[in-house]
Symmetry: C2
Subunit: 279 residues, 2 copies
Amino acid sequence: VIAYFNGRFLGESDVRVSPWDRGFQFADGVYEVVRAYRGRFFRMNSHMRRLRHSLDELRIGYDDVEALPGVAERLLRENGLTEADGKFYVQVTRGVAPRSHRFPPATTSPTVFASVAPISSATESHTAKVILTEDTRWARRDIKSLMLLPNVLASQAAADAGADEALFVRQGMITEGSHTGFAAVRDGVFRTHPSGSEVLPSITREVTLELCEELGVPVREEAVAVEELSDCQELMILGTTAEVSAVVAIDGRPIAGPGPITSALQAGFSALVARELGW
Amino acid sequence: VIAYFNGRFLGESDVRVSPWDRGFQFADGVYEVVRAYRGRFFRMNSHMRRLRHSLDELRIGYDDVEALPGVAERLLRENGLTEADGKFYVQVTRGVAPRSHRFPPATTSPTVFASVAPISSATESHTAKVILTEDTRWARRDIKSLMLLPNVLASQAAADAGADEALFVRQGMITEGSHTGFAAVRDGVFRTHPSGSEVLPSITREVTLELCEELGVPVREEAVAVEELSDCQELMILGTTAEVSAVVAIDGRPIAGPGPITSALQAGFSALVARELGW
């Protein structure tokens, strides 16, 4: 497997991260995951815009974001994935420096690691069993940072419960999943958490909002309360790899799904991908 | 510089962390910093107990904690620091695995990195200028995890303001510093945040509580409110490297210090270290 590391393309096993990398010691970095369909990246620009937001908010001085789409393309080629469904992972940290909480000197180069991997579409049922779990994350969830330990713990709690995803609950309201966004349909209205520091600006959510407009589904950007769940007719998780997936169980209780709006969004999503990628 | 990495002692520049290490991608790991005085470690057992707590809470299956004090001693020897003031840094992550939020298979070996470095005692004035900043951290602050990005941002905010440390404020109450504990004296009573998930179980705090008992200083484990600060006669930060340091400015406003109880704790701390380490 060929990866990208600090400007070079090299065998993945030759990538050497320093133990003094601030990504390793301080979670001081950001990342993105971009989906490729048959070798073409979907909404790469949106992901790069979000990456720039994350870098800017953390004052990580990496100014080569515009080169990353080219890196992603080359990684597909180097790894024989130009026709494959896959994903591009890229991570940028504040670099290597003697251990100190404060930022290292401005001359410190950020560390950039990127790789691609195939996704087996056959394994994706587009349904998900979920659990609810307390949202223990830090305050800046709009930054796609390496602060993922609570996401790890939540995701494992889901696995322990035989579920696929954990939905975070903060003060009685569902924010989002451990690695997906969340939306519901209540009385014909598409509901999802408003943007802001409490949730990641999900690109799949953006796409579903566009699709709702196209389909004439009314939207309300207002968080769904746990108490309201039984009044919702459809629940779904949204993500770069999950795409639009119907929630079919919550804390072990089955839910009928996918419902009509979820199904319409799933079909619309596929059509939109095909349209944008030109086939 | 000789470091320790996954069972081997080797040149620090030969340490190769994988980009798929969960410490690098997910902040999925824990750490400790232990102080050495003239080549002898202070309260090593307390640090190892806390490390075990951190590992247990995260279900990281590393069962060689009892070997780490020996690793620390050998690192001092290998680096010619057996007579030096220094510190031992050790970090344990959940190991290397293909990227997935949930835990990797139980057969995955944790990654262990450790190193030692000298501390120049001459640079420590035992005074600190501090700023107040919002506590944006995740909920499990009792775990000494790699979830340090908010600590990094707070520490840098302090540096930007010409200060040495940032104190976190949560709902009007001071929790602790970005890399230190916090205590105050109000009307002769030593005040510090109670233990629990909101603060790290600080070992220096433990020591100061012992010293308060020795000195006959009454203690109240109750958080200090920001509004109360002007009613406090002494403020201090506590830490493995800061030891007991007097706060001499807060948000740019000078404070007289160190006061009598701070000074007594500083003297008591030095005496206790000398007593415990046997000189």
